[in-house]
Symmetry: C2
Subunit: 556 residues, 2 copies
């Protein structure tokens, strides 16, 4: 059965002006992503679908499109709603006004905390969202055997959820070594799905061939232009990412041409609401590309059609009949200045957001089962030649450095198991945060979300960690033995229960507290949160200890 089969009689009538459309955008300049042409016409919409593009359509509701340009709704090709620190409901409120009408989301942050209950929560939230949230099923829960996770998602779980949601693809398959060495569990999970999202930072050559030949279709982890070029040539969709912590747009922009545009997408992966408020979302990626000389056709394709096409959503990505009426009306095409957003035929405005129908996130509360700690729990010993995690601003990649630890450039870092399973506390050293005093702790610690803390001294580290016990997760800053600021994220230790505007304000306050520590990073909490992720090269710290990601094993 085709999509929208029930609506076809109405669409056929509306298209021929035999009856009124539900909504018509009159006299708007359409930017056609098929050939780059502009056409001034009316867009007639019925049942949330575009019925016709042409002259003299009429409708029950009318938008005057004079002076505006219509483009297809934007599609975030890969994101984790949890990383926006707000609920799916607030996420939609945050991104829809930026023209993002579809987002592929991987609930694996919450799944690592709460297991398949996270899938249920996200599918329920997606069902009532005014934007199209395409929930993927997370294969790597836990990510690896190198950390203690809150939950496990088994092959049988995935099979069960795939049966319930046959259209769901497999979310980012981070276990690259598992594919290359043909781990039977990994292959079993892959075999359940006909669409598999990738995650293969720095992968190239024969290993990349193997990963692609196994059926992985895309990658959002390219941080170098040559890497992205190789991946495109191997048939991968390259999802150009501009998140809060990982920002690859500048580097990868030269990849995006009219030629390559079908094979390029945009995604945010992890972007917090302050960032959305201050910098925008996919709209800002489009604008920045165009400002740097990317042809508008290429930029707008990467923001919509190319992703729809690569992800096999055949009902969107063009302003054309039979397409989902996801339309962005722009005041300015080059600057991607959004005037009005239409999502599935409905104009985006406050009334569209109904909090009463949202699923309850209560199941995810009280997830921080950490004992109170003291400075004695962080028995760091200085060394003349320690393995040090070198953090790079704007990147999730880290360097594996060998340095003496007694330097003002080097800080202490610890990861604490938080599920009450084994009480692991692992210690390490980190360079790049620029802390002069105090400590920063986070219950967001990809992807197992153990508590991680970076600091200049064990006392403040303990204070910061204990603050997160109180708040049931979030971010905490401690200085001089006292809590300086806390941003509570009580849902799974990942998401706030507050509106996105409140969280943005809290992030603004937190930023001040972070500045007071002397921290020089653009997004210190997110950088901290990625310290434990043992699937991104090169050196990471989990609750089990330092991980050499290239060797995919704990450091001796």
């Amino acid at each position: 059965m085709r999509l929208f089969a029930m609506s076809i009689p109405k669409l056929v009538d509306v298209a021929q002006s035999k009856c009124l459309s539900d909504l018509v955008v009159k006299n708007v300049r359409i930017f056609h992503l098929t050939d780059g042409a502009f056409e001034t016409a009316d867009i007639a919409i019925a049942d949330g679908i575009i019925a016709g593009v042409g002259k003299d359509y009429e409708g029950h509701e009318v938008i005057d499109g004079t002076g505006l340009t219509a483009v297809p709704g934007f599609i975030d090709a890969h994101c984790h709603v949890e990383s926006s620190m707000v609920t799916p409901f607030e996420f939609a409120r945050a991104v829809l006004p930026h023209g993002v009408t579809t987002a592929f989301c991987d609930p694996h942050e919450l799944a690592n905390v709460a297991g398949t209950a996270a899938f249920q929560y996200f599918f329920r939230a997606a069902a009532v969202s005014p934007m199209d949230l395409r929930v993927r099923l997370s294969p790597c829960v836990p990510d690896t055997h190198l950390e203690t996770s809150g939950a496990e998602v088994t092959v049988a779980d995935l099979a069960e959820w795939k049966k319930r949601h046959p259209d769901a693809g497999l979310a980012e398959l981070m276990n690259v070594p598992g594919v290359l060495c043909q781990d039977p569990q990994v292959l079993e999970k892959m075999a359940l799905f006909d669409f598999i999202d990738g995650h293969c930072p720095l992968l190239g050559g024969k290993a990349l061939n193997a990963y692609v030949a196994a059926g992985v279709r895309n990658c959002h982890e390219c941080s170098h232009l040559a890497e992205a070029q190789e991946k495109v040539r191997r048939g991968m969709q390259v999802l150009i990412r501009e998140g809060t912590a990982a920002r690859n747009l500048e580097e990868l922009m030269p990849l995006l041409t009219v030629e390559t545009s079908p094979f390029c997408s945009f995604c945010t992966d992890d972007r917090n609401p302050l960032d959305v408020q201050e910098k925008g979302h996919l709209d800002s990626m489009v604008a920045r590309c165009i400002a740097k000389g990317v042809p508008p056709l290429a930029a707008y394709r990467a923001a919509s059609w190319s992703t729809a096409n690569a992800m096999r959503l055949t009902d969107r990505g063009l302003v054309a009949p039979g397409q989902r009426a996801d339309i962005v009306l722009l005041k300015d095409l080059e600057a991607c200045q959004v005037a009005t957003v239409i999502a599935k035929g409905r104009v985006v405005k406050d009334a569209l957001f109904d909090k009463s129908v949202q699923p309850d996130g209560a199941f995810s509360r009280d997830s921080i089962k950490l004992r109170a700690v003291t400075a004695a729990d962080f028995p760091f010993v200085h060394s003349d030649n320690a393995s040090v995690i070198g953090v790079i601003d704007g990147s999730l990649l880290t360097e594996h450095l060998h340095l003496p630890t007694e330097s003002p450039e080097i800080q202490r870092v610890a990861v604490l198991e938080r599920y009450g399973k084994n009480g692991n506390i692992a210690l390490g050293w980190v360079k790049g945060f620029g802390l002069k005093r105090g400590a920063i702790a986070s219950s967001v610690g990809h992807d197992s979300h153990n508590v991680c803390v970076v600091g200049t001294n064990p006392e403040d580290m303990a204070v910061a960690v204990n603050a997160l016990r109180e708040s049931q997760g979030g971010f905490a800053v401690a200085m001089d033995g006292k809590v300086a600021d806390v941003l509570p994220l009580p849902l799974g230790g990942l998401m706030s229960d507050q509106p996105m505007e409140v969280v943005a304000d809290q992030l603004r306050t937190l930023r001040q507290a972070l500045l007071a520590t002397g921290c020089t990073l653009e997004a210190p909490t997110l950088q901290l949160a990625f310290i434990p992720l043992p699937v991104i090269p090169h050196l990471k710290l989990t609750d089990k200890g330092l991980v050499d990601v290239d060797k995919f094993q704990l450091l001796e």
Copy 2:
């Protein structure tokens, strides 16, 4: 389940050079359709799939690619194998050497003669073909109520065959008025399929909107550039056609740019073996485009990736890991000179074609159930102002002319019901064949395949028609009361039981006989065969009489 799931372990190993590939193309220049880049590398193939592209692959079988350029196998986006006048087996023999490794075929010619037995025959032939013949299911059997057909394919038939072949799309939906007026039978047929091929010559404006909104995805009937541009902007894939009779390449070439390339495909629709022998197939379309200034990237995409993508074949169209090993090795990229063809990992050579496994076409023999005719069966009466079918060389469109019939430019035309159902004989007048003497008859008469005959006098028309009774179909030329030449097509009156080389020779002989009649058309038999097709504007003749296609009714 993903495609090729069984092969994944082997692919992953071959990709990493942990074991030998089945076949390796060494040191070949690859033309990447993703970004237009060239890369000299090896292509490693296992289980008919590309495992890896890179340096230093080894294999059990080795092709030296030095000096050659590799591009993905070509895809004919829409054709009727019957129109090649040979069996599917011979069709593959004819087109594979031209690099055509996939063809979407619509068996509706044979289905109009033999019903669903034609589906069975084609699916069986496809199952043993060395090329990938993607059989569509024909919705319009009969085409219309304006003619007598040999068979009917009902909604229930389509449902049954769709169940047997879930991947099959609906073949060209020619009944445009049926869609626009929402004929319940047409909508029922459409509702069975999630992919629907189109056929909507000259359709534009709101009617086009309605047709596309109803779910039709492509059109191969564009004959004007502006028409094709509008269709692309409405989200249709435009299948640029260059057949034997209908040749749109020259007109539509300007449509094909790097910008539009994802939305353009190539197809042949109807091309006979002599044409293939003399002019080539998709290879010649690519070469002609490039010679006229179309960027090679756009031309090669239209010949492969764009079609695979538009038709939702996610396993081909690129030379990249995980893709079906359909590869064309070219001596010359610009001239599209084919050196070697690899189809699903096997080198195309004589040994690949095994006639012994072909399905039997006997069911389709003896399909001409026509009584013997005499000149008295063609009682033409001259008129000063008759409706005359104006044939246009190189086009299937006809003009509706009003002319006096007593002119050397005007010939007689008749269509004779051939299934023994009612013995209908309809008469009309035609301009454009240029006949000076004799008559030409054909049992190929789209799409109901009644016998059609054009001539300068009733005597020769009767001789030509009677010759087809003897041969059980085909083409016949009569002059001076005698049979001048016959090309027998005993399978359904559509296909020869001879090898394609024999048919090409027969066509060459037939061409001489046709020239002797004074006929001036480039492809007179095909032009004749389209005289009865009442779904292509403007004036046509079926066994029921003259049809005004624009009004979709018999002429008063």
